[in-house]
């Protein structure tokens, strides 16, 4: 009896070891046969990434507002190829943009160049941000210096609904 159980245990141990081993070997063999790592579409993925970065800032002139990176129009493909070739030759991104604007004008750039006509565009928002925050602060200060008669009756007096140790209010808490 005990010998039988011992035998069964030994067998089970062998199975437990063999089965995974067999599976592993067959999987490995299968991987040798089937999987081939797909080749990247372009010979130089790093260059391609640069091409896409540049192409994402260039406008497709025959499309309804698309970049040459996203568009499949003939001109977009041609210009992408042009960008790729220039970058491959070692030109800088600045040179690529200059090349495009020399032929198509500033219209082809999605990042508007900074020149005298675009100063309000680029500096407008930051200046507006600063001016309005300062202006707001100044206006609030001035408002607070007005005599109390100028203000209307305060609907809640000095009561405050701030969270924190608060008295339980009848009717369900603060109005927000």
């Amino acid at each position: 009896m005990r010998a039988e159980r011992g035998l069964r245990r030994a067998l089970r141990r062998q199975v437990l070891v063999l089965v995974p081993l067999v599976l592993l070997v067959s999987l490995w063999a299968a991987s040798l046969v089937h999987a081939k790592e797909a080749a990247p579409a372009s010979a130089d993925p790093a260059l391609e990434a640069r091409v896409m970065r540049v192409a994402n800032e260039l406008r497709c002139l025959v499309c309804q507002n698309e970049t040459i990176a996203a568009s499949n129009a003939d001109l977009a493909v041609d210009l992408r190829n042009q960008v790729r070739e220039m970058l491959r030759q070692g030109r800088s991104e600045r040179e690529v943009f200059d090349y495009m604007t020399a032929r198509y004008g500033d219209f082809v750039l999605y990042r508007p160049p900074l020149k005298s006509s675009t100063v309000p565009l680029w500096f407008g928002p930051p200046v507006l941000l600063a001016v309005s925050l300062v202006g707001l602060w100044w206006m609030l200060r001035r408002r607070n210096r007005l005599p109390p008669e100028q203000f209307e009756n305060d609907p809640i007096g000095d009561a405050n609904d701030t969270p924190g140790p608060a008295r339980e209010r009848a009717g369900g808490g603060d109005t927000r």
Binding site: L61, V62, L75, A102, R103, Y104, G105
Partner: protein
């Protein structure tokens, strides 16, 4: 002072409406060429009728000439072609064709069928010269002066109106100049 607070929104409204109103008369898809007033980009291309012969930009110096960009697959080119033939017939200017991203046999057939107004047609099969000239659609037409400087560009098919009001006066002026 307080009145100002209420005038500012009105003024903004007026400004925005004014700009939008002007905008109604503009074409947002029209791309002005940065090459006007600049030397015509260099090229050296084979002729359509004789692939062994080439024409370069230098060959065309000393005369006022018109470059008409076309392709056999382009429908609007077909529309404007009679006008180009007319320009050549009236000897207003020497017209050269730029066959853009096309196949030589198809181009030859097209000209055979519709008429050939060009002194010569240059073959730009990969579109490189087109890109140099800022071509983004066909047909397009350029006018280059005696010094080789681009003086005019028209995108889209030529119309009798454009011919009469823009091209003919310009040609007169350029041909008068030395």
């Amino acid at each position: 002072m307080k009145v100002l607070r209420y005038l500012v929104p009105m003024a903004l409204l007026a400004a925005v409406v004014a700009f939008l109103g002007v905008g109604l008369g503009l074409n947002p898809r029209e791309v002005p060429s940065p090459l006007i007033g600049k030397p015509a980009p260099a090229f050296k291309l084979a002729r359509l009728d004789d692939a062994t012969q080439t024409i370069s930009r230098e060959d065309l110096l000393g005369q006022v000439w018109m470059l008409n960009v076309w392709a056999s697959w382009c429908a609007p080119c077909r529309e404007e072609h009679p006008l180009v033939i007319d320009i050549a017939r009236r000897q207003l200017v020497a017209v050269y064709g730029l066959n853009y991203k096309d196949q030589v046999p198809a181009a030859k057939n097209w000209l055979a069928g519709l008429g050939n107004p060009y002194r010569a047609t240059l073959v730009d099969s990969d579109g490189r010269v087109g890109i140099d000239y800022g071509v983004y659609g066909v047909p397009e037409t350029f006018i280059v002066d005696r010094q080789g400087v681009i003086r005019f560009k028209h995108t889209g098919p030529l119309t009798p109106d454009v011919l009469r009001t823009r091209i003919e006066p310009l040609l007169k002026e350029l041909q008068r100049a030395g």
